[in-house]
């Protein structure tokens, strides 16, 4: 019915071009007897009734790609991705920085100094290995446990603290969102939002947008992180479909850490994880050991290369384990044994695995380890102390950025109403008086504006 679209940048796979022929050509295919006349499939006809329930021909599960064993030794036949010492050290230092930061912020949440926090314990290799495989200007759409990507890209500790404390230096959300909802156009990291999986179809749109920007076409991809729980949302299905059907260079990275809050992955899906779904969408897919930073680096590099080359979605499932609680509002020992977590930490620690590899290459030593740990602890503590004393944005920011352009009358009126109430009760109602002191300008800018208006 339509002329096939001319997509200069897209190299269709053989499978797809043959699909295009079946939809675009009215003639009977040459091998009608073997392939039938199925309008929406190039499926071979068979007289044998056979059901199947695996994407692997032998019925096995999709294998997990690994480079390093649990003591940091390359597996036999494994191809260690090309990295030099400086690059390896940068990865390692960021892998250690992540839990250092997590420990401090987790603890200060426990002391009531920030309202909420989510750690990435156990997932350091998945996050840093993938971050290191990307171009620093690939557009990232994250779920919430991927602050390590920002650290890799040079997002400062001050910026992390500013967002978590919601002080006046917070550019991520001007104190409007909960902690860990980071964002930075400069670091090509779209602002995180709480609703799960909404970023997945958005990522396909970002991927398509990149093909429409001449300077980025064929050079950048959209990168979308999600957990295995989020992959149960309808938006996952939508995003996979869109990125594969409308050619959109979008790299999907599923962190399969075994739990969505309390729900184990066995209650999340009955199939072979998230990776088994990729081929159903016609998508290049790989499963990787998410605790092996070199495997993640190698797999994501190759996934990204295919994503750029094919200009369509590619799926990576990283198998890892959520060592920490889901968030500071969760006590995970209510649904899993403390011993199980301890065992995991000991048997398969992604940081230790990489450290042993680094040491075997002569790239790292016990002395350096001690120095690094001390330095990072000091840096993190210093950034927190500095941020802790800072005031919040001005109170008037509560009403900004709802709309761009002309401010609607109702927002104007409601701000004026609050100003009236502040004038009336601001000094006499203690909860407001105490709270006002925490804002830059103590709300005076609102009162002042209204007087001049």
């Amino acid at each position: 019915m339509f002329r096939p679209a001319a997509r200069l940048l897209v190299r269709r796979s053989l499978l797809r071009s043959s699909r295009a022929i079946t939809t675009a050509t009215p003639q009977v295919p040459a091998h009608a007897d073997t392939h039938g006349h199925l309008p929406s499939s190039h499926s071979r006809i068979t007289s044998k009734l056979r059901f199947f329930n695996s994407v692997m021909e032998d019925g096995e599960q999709i294998p997990t790609y690994r480079v390093l064993d649990s003591v940091g030794k390359p597996l036999e036949g494994a191809e260690v991705p090309e990295i030099d010492e400086a690059f390896a050290r940068k990865i390692y230092e960021n892998m250690v920085l992540l839990p250092t930061l997590d420990t401090l912020l987790y603890n200060v949440q426990r002391q009531g100094k920030i309202s909420f926090y989510m750690t990435a314990y156990g997932e350091e290799a998945t996050i840093l290995g993938s971050a290191a495989a990307l171009a620093n200007d690939d557009e990232v759409l994250a779920q919430y446990r991927e602050a390590g990507v920002l650290l890799w890209r040079g997002f400062s500790l001050d910026a992390i603290m500013a967002q978590c404390l919601g002080n006046h230096e917070d550019l991520s959300s001007k104190g409007k969102q909960m902690p860990v909802h980071f964002g930075s156009p400069e670091h090509h990291f779209l602002t995180i939002s709480s609703p799960l999986a909404t970023q997945i179809p958005q990522a396909a749109g970002v991927g398509y947008a990149l093909t429409r920007i001449p300077s980025r076409r064929g050079r950048n991809v959209a990168v979308c992180y999600m957990g295995e729980g989020a992959a149960s949302e309808g938006d996952f299905h939508a995003g996979m479909l869109l990125a594969s059907t409308i050619p959109s260079p979008t790299l999907f990275i599923a962190r399969n850490n075994g739990f969505a809050i309390s729900t184990p992955s066995t209650e999340q899906y009955h199939g072979d994880g998230i990776a088994a779904r990729g081929p159903g969408y016609g998508m290049w897919t790989v499963r990787v050991d998410g605790n092996d930073v070199l495997a993640v680096l190698g797999a994501v590099r190759e996934a990204r290369r295919r994503c750029v080359e094919d200009g369509r979605g590619v799926l990576v499932e990283a198998m890892t384990y959520r060592v920490g609680h889901h968030s500071t509002s969760d006590d995970s020992f209510a649904y899993r044994a403390r011993q199980e977590v301890e065992d995991r930490k000991r048997v398969d620690n992604p940081i230790a695995r990489f450290r042993l590899y680094m040491e075997s290459r002569g790239w790292w030593s016990k002395e350096e380890e001690e120095l690094l740990k001390t330095r990072l602890k000091q840096d993190v503590l210093k950034a927190f102390k500095r941020a802790e004393g800072l005031q919040r944005h001005e109170l008037k920011e509560m009403f900004t950025d709802v709309y761009g352009g002309e401010e609607p009358w109702n927002i104007k009126e409601q701000r004026e109403e609050l100003v009236g109430l502040l004038k009336k009760y601001g000094n006499d109602w203690e909860p407001w008086r105490n709270e006002l002191a925490r804002f830059k300008g103590k709300g005076q800018e609102l009162l002042g504006d209204s007087k001049s208006a």
Partner: protein, 334 residues
């Protein structure tokens, strides 16, 4: 031009003047089920005008992604009745994108078009007017045109507005409303109501399809057909009714409406969606707050009933001219 041609004309201008603009949705490449995108794929190429898989949450999410990168994304939802799968993307994501990022990101380039309102035989899922559900979604704009000129000017303004806009096109008007539409590029301002007919005795406020029923009701009031003459007292036939088209549901033009009601002292609101928590409830509450001392009668709402739109019952469901006429009479007599 009729309305679908005016929409198509606006889309063509948007694509012509803005290289980043793309149009996508279900079945739009061959021209769309209402012909609003006829020939655009041929003219501008399938990279700019393309079909999506059948997934409304995906369509809006995809549009948000495009718009977040500074592109102009014009998405189509085939019927307003099917916008709900995208409710999360619209309300939690599009509406809050700018606010939650402290103004660092926005999806102002997103416009979601969808056919809306009754069509005579649409039943439950081809008749709905869901504008009220979006009225509380601060950050979104909701726009509904009444005619081809309005459709073109308001659609171009919506596409270029720095905020995400839901543009609802009354589908019964696609072919039935025809007028001379300027072929050049023009915009009509959002959040500005139109006074279609000035008056001093009562304000009649509506948008989209029911405006035509309002017009008919006003004719019936001043020159009743013989069968209705006994129902319409001679004294009320010369009543001077002010008819207003609200055009933008969010943020709505409070100034025009309040000014009108302060002058007339009476307000009748007409919409097709059900009454409870509909747009009329919001406007009625604001008007009683701002015009309390000027009101000579309660604010009257003439709306669809609080039921789904039953197929064979539509004639008795929609707020048609006789119901509007009765509402005007009752409010004038109060």
């Amino acid at each position: 031009m009729n309305t679908f041609q005016a929409v198509r004309d606006a889309l063509s201008i948007a694509l012509l003047k803005d290289d980043t603009a793309v149009i996508f949705g279900e079945d739009i490449a061959f021209g769309g089920v209402f012909r609003c995108t006829m020939g655009l794929a041929e003219e501008f190429g399938r990279e700019r005008v393309f079909n999506t898989p059948l997934t409304e949450q995906g369509i809006v999410g995809f549009g948000i992604g495009l718009a977040a990168m500074g592109q102009t994304a014009i998405a189509e939802i085939q019927f307003a009745d099917y916008i709900y799968p995208a409710f999360d993307q619209l309300v939690n994501e599009a509406a809050k994108f700018r606010y939650r990022s402290g103004g660092q990101f926005d999806v102002g380039g997103l416009t979601v078009r969808c056919p809306t309102m009754s069509v005579g035989h649409g039943g439950l899922y081809h008749s709905q007017s869901p504008e009220g559900f979006f009225m509380g979604a601060a950050g979104l704009k909701v726009v509904i045109p009444r005619s081809p000129i309005q459709a073109k000017g308001l659609l171009l303004a919506s596409i270029r507005d720095p905020n995400p806009v839901i543009f609802m096109e009354p589908k019964v008007l696609y072919r039935s409303a025809v007028e001379q539409v300027p072929v050049d590029d023009f915009e009509l301002p959002l959040s500005r109501a139109d006074i279609l007919k000035p008056g001093s005795d009562l304000t009649l406020l509506s948008w989209g399809t029911p405006l035509y029923h309002c017009e008919t009701a006003l004719h019936m009031l001043s020159a009743p057909p013989p069968s209705l003459e006994p129902h319409i007292p001679q004294s009320l036939r010369s009543a001077n009714i002010e008819l207003i088209d609200l055009k933008t549901i969010l943020p709505w033009d409070v100034e025009s409406v309040v000014e009108s009601v302060k002058k007339t002292g009476r307000l009748v609101i007409v919409h097709e969606a059900g009454m409870t928590a509909g747009v009329g409830a919001e406007i009625g509450a604001v008007v009683q707050d701002k015009c309390f001392l000027k009101l000579d009668a309660p604010v009257k709402r003439i709306t669809g009933w609080d039921t789904p739109v039953g197929l064979q019952f539509e004639k008795f469901y929609i707020p048609d001219s006789i119901r509007i006429l009765d509402g005007i009479l009752e409010t004038l007599k109060y």
